[in-house]
Structure formats: structure tokens, C-alpha cells
Symmetry: C2
Subunit: 392 residues, 2 copies
Amino acid sequence: MSPGPPVSESERLARAALSRISEPGYPRMTDAVQELGAARVLESLQTQAVHRELGADLAERLASADPQRDLEQAAARGIRFVVPGDDEWPVTLDDLAHAPHLHERGGVPIGLWCRGPLRLAEAAERAVSVVGSRSATTYGGSVAGEIAGTLARESWTVVSGAAFGIDQAAHRGALAGRGPTVAVLACGADRAYPSAHRSLIDYVADVGLVVSEAAPGCAPTRIRFLARNRLIAALARGTVVVEAAVRSGALNTASWAGGLGRMVMGVPGPVTSAPSAGVHQLIRARDAVLVTSGEEVLEAVGPMGSYALSEPREPEHPRDRLEPRQRQVLDAVPLVQAVDSRKIAETAGIAHSPTKEALLVLLRAGLVEHSLGRWRVAADPALDEQGEGWAP
Amino acid sequence: MSPGPPVSESERLARAALSRISEPGYPRMTDAVQELGAARVLESLQTQAVHRELGADLAERLASADPQRDLEQAAARGIRFVVPGDDEWPVTLDDLAHAPHLHERGGVPIGLWCRGPLRLAEAAERAVSVVGSRSATTYGGSVAGEIAGTLARESWTVVSGAAFGIDQAAHRGALAGRGPTVAVLACGADRAYPSAHRSLIDYVADVGLVVSEAAPGCAPTRIRFLARNRLIAALARGTVVVEAAVRSGALNTASWAGGLGRMVMGVPGPVTSAPSAGVHQLIRARDAVLVTSGEEVLEAVGPMGSYALSEPREPEHPRDRLEPRQRQVLDAVPLVQAVDSRKIAETAGIAHSPTKEALLVLLRAGLVEHSLGRWRVAADPALDEQGEGWAP
């Protein structure tokens, strides 16, 4: 994918070392590596030239780092270290170099530890993130699963965070749809958080991809969740928030997506449901587009026109098949108290004779009732008498 | 209210006659009256000068019209005929002269038949329409009632159509909140449609206002519902659609509101609920603003800043009260497997001694746990360990 020369072994080792000693998304580090390359940053740390810039403790930790061993141990666990310049590196991640920082996290990752058969760049080519509350409702979980299933069946990758609730439903929906799915973790790619999701995460690693910016063995911390959220946003063309309380991690991911110029989408729910309040807030603030289905998600993120939706329509009404004059007469037939055809002709503004002809057609179609020379709308027509079926 | 001279008796009688013989919102009629005044249109009809323009049958019907008797009979039933130029005429209705027609309906009403103690102009001064599906869900009815109640308590008029479902819930919510409410009917103001709502409609007439463009005695027809919808939209500063199927009368009202430059608002619901599909479509098309409460409705339609909402917030988190360094340390404490304070200091990028001080503060606050020299995040803190509580 990348047109450049292959990444040098020394650069890869330097990135592995820096990945081990620094926190994910630590902007001073990601910026320095982006500007100078990892080998030079490492060298500067070793010669203590950039100590003050990067924090006094890093050089110390560096002494105990053994990137060669780290890479070998990772490989033994099926984990590869993917860095910028690799064929597998998704160029879209480089957008992080210019995105605004959030909560003092940001920048292009130094490298990503990946476990699973999917190639990250390919997986990210057509990907949507589906995120939301860990305390999801049955409704939210079901909608997340549906959306992920639709994406999967169209061979779009579902990116999420393997958390309880919406994340889990999203991965499961993608797996059930036999589509690609990527779990981005806040802990090392060899670990499972939450531990109850070990089998889910291992399954994703078997058929999809488990990704982490934190080196193998790392525990999940809040810092790492905040840094992780930016990757979920950056790896996809858009982020769908299914349920999210007012201050939630899913909204943090949505903010990253917005800052990265990705499409932000929100699934509405009952206004009485607290887990939907954050989503409604996003849509109200016009930070997110309202979506109700996987098809609408694809329409929003797919190449222009490729998933254009037909407007949802109710089934055709019998009146749709009427000629204009017949419709005009029908619209003048009273709903309750029957009247004679002359009165209907008056209301319709049509002469008496064609009105009578039209009434006979309507009678045969079961749309009006007739008794003792008087007419009214049929008791239970497949019609909506209050102007429904009429919205433009 | 109106600065002009009082309406002449002949003009009022002419309007009553035209109201009796023509259909509500028949654009040729409303346009002709708007341009020439009712007395001249009536005269033209009588001399057959505008026959071809207005339809051959009108002059015929005119022969049998007796506006003087009509007005007297209406008055005997407590119904007054309000026309442009009257003190009670809401000038906002004149916006209909310039709004695009829908379904061949449009224009400023020739007059409105009103039953009830409210003065129409005053009622329309601060009014919101609350409309929606007749086959509403419990959810929709409850939200419509809540919104109407909030509007009522702020002395805003709730306008609706007295139909089953959302309309009914809106009127009832307004009545329960002891606020003004206006029911705009498609049949005559002396009648009740649906007949099951006779007592509701009579109650609205007792304490609020029942309004119709159709002359007393008129039956409801589809034409009259379509014309009625434009009045519901025009009488209010904004229209809230609570539940609406994809092709529904409520969306027709919303289209009128949009065409009149009124605020259009929609209440979301589960994406799995058909009665919410039309509302979601409105919001997706950016034809409507998403609202979740009466307060948000007031913020949208009220004078700028008068109902400014504070952003909804979750209750404060204990971490909100921490100092920055303490927060930085907390963010570096692992969620699962406890580590020693030196390791936490490394992750936090803070020297060991201040890290230990911060950990003691966090321990006293119940945010971390400590055992055998190792620390982890407290098992059940009032925290959200996945970056929740962190959305910007």
C-alpha cells in the first residue's frame, strides 16, 4: 500500500522501544517521533538531549527496555508490531498528526501491536466504528448488532472497543454477519479487558484483528482508554454512537471522529432513556447525523451515490392508483355522515355526472359506502382519512 | 391588536357567505379574497364575472346561502366568526398569503369560526403546535403530554387537532397544566370529530378555543383535513411532531410549518418503532430540530435567550474534585492488576514522591485500593474507567 521504502530494522526497533516506555498518545512523544523519526528520538533520549522535553523518567526506563526481545515475545504470542511505512499501516491514521488533541492525548501512534489474520490497512479501507454505552439497554444492543450485521454483509469492517454493552453487540453483529471486525484495546493486545470478554476478544483475534497502541502486557488505565478512543475514530470513515449517557467515553470517540473530519452518526432512542441522552445531544448540536439503520450508515460513509437510499415509503395506498378526478371526488366524500352525490359534486367542485361516475369506481374499489342514495367513506378503508398518506 | 378600522358589516357578511359556499383553503378563492376583498368577490360571483375563475357551481350555491342567518345560528351555539381586520385576528395567519401551496390548498382563511373563551390573537401570540400519529404508542402519548404540560405551565398555548393519539395527549397535557389550548377542527366548530372526542372538544371549547375554517355543520373530509393542517402550523411559532409514520398528516403539518418559516421540531423514538420513522426522516433531512423535552421546545421557539438551557450534565464525578496531579496519578492506576507506586509514577510521568502523596489522597477518597504495597482502581468507584466522564 505504502509507496515508500520498507521500514528499516533500526527504526522498527526504536519504535518498539518507544512504544514500551511511553504512554499511548502522549503528544510530546508522538509529535517528536512524527517530526524526527523514532531512531533519532531514541538517540536523543539516550544522549539525554531531549530529557527536559520528554520527561526525566523516560531515559531511565529506556535502560531496561529490550525491544528485540519484546518483538520476539510478541511474535511468539501471534502479535506483530505495525509501524508507519509498513504495507499494513493505514495511511488514514496519519490524519491524527493534524487533529486537535483531546484530554492531552493525540498524535499518530508510534506503532500498533496487532493480533489476528486481517491486514490493518485493508480492514481500515472500508470501516465504520460502532460504539456506545457499556450499560446499554436491550434496545441499544439489538440496534448495534443489526447495524454491525448490515455493515458486515456489505464487507465493511466494524471497529469497536470490545467493552460491555454496545461494543460487544457490534463485534458480535459483525461476526454473525461473517464480516471483518477490529477490536481496539486499551490494554496490551495479548490481554483481555474486560476479562469476561476474553473469549470474544480471542475470537476476534482468530478471524479479525485485535489492535493496541499499548505494548503487550500493559494493563488498561484511563489514559490508555482515552488514547484508544482516538484510534477507534481514526481507523474508520465514520463513527456510529448507539447509546451514550451525557458524559461518556463514546462521546469522546465521537469528538475524535469529528476532529478528524470523519462522519459522526447517532442512533436515536426514547427521550425517556438516559443511555440515549448523549446521542440526542450530539444530534441536537448538529455534531452527528441521525441514523436508524445500517443502510443509512452506509449511505453516509460510502462513496457518493453507491448506497443511495430510496426514501422509506409506506405501502402504496389504494388511492395512489386512482385517477386525479376520482381522487378529487373521494376527498370530498364525508367521513361520518353520508350525503347525496349532488352534495359531493358541490364539495369537489366537479359537475354532477362525472362525480357519479367516479363514485361508482370508488364503490367498486371498496373506498366508499353507498346506502339509500347517500355516500360516505368506507368504514375501514386502507386509507387514512386525516390527510395521512398525503405528506409531500 | 389590528391597527386598521373595524371590519365593515358587509365585508363580514360577504366572508361568511364565501366561507359557507367554498372549501377551506381553496387557493383561487383565498387569493381572490386576499386581492379584492370578500365583498367584491361576492359581487363578482353574483354578476357571474369571475365564474370561470372560481368554478361554475359557486354562484349556484351562493343563491341558497344566507350568511346573516348562518352568523346568528352560529352565535346561538356560542360560535363567532373571526375575520382579518378583527381585533382577534392573528396577524401571523397572514403569512399564509405567501406560503407555498400544498396539495392544492393554501391562502389566508376567509374567516375562522371560533368557539371558546380564548381570544384567538392572544392565544396565537405564544403558541406551539404539538401533532403526531393517531396510532400513537404509549411512549409517544406520554411524551406529547409531558411537552404540552411544560408549555402550559409556561403559559404557552398548545395547538393541535383533537385527533386520537398524539393530538389528544397534547390537549390533555395542556389542560392538566392549566394552560391555554386550541383545537383546530376539519369539521364545523359545532361538531366533534372523532365523535369519541366530543367531551374533550367540548372541554377545550369551555376553557380554550375550538377553531374551524369550515362553516358550522360541515362534515370532515380529506380536503378539510389538509386545509386544517395549514392552520395548525400557521397559528403557532413552531410545530412539534411527536410520532409520525412515514406518510402521515403530521408530516403534512410539518411541511406547512416549514413553508411558513416556522420552527419544525421532532421527538425521536426507538428506531424499531414505525410511528417514529417519519420523525426520524424529518430530522435526517434537517427539516426538523431534534427535541427531547418541553424545555428544549421553548428554547427553540422562545425569544432568544429567554429559555436558554444549560447543557444536560451527569452528576458530578468524585474525580471532578481532584487536583490535576491527583487526577494524572489516578489515570495511571491500573483497573485490574495492582502494581506498586513506582510503576504508577512511571506511567503517570510524575516523580515517585508526589505520586505516593497523591495515591494516599485517592485512597482516602475511596478511588483506589491498596494492598501489600500495590495499588489498583477501587472495585466500585463512582467513576467510569473507560474514559467516561471525559467527553469534552
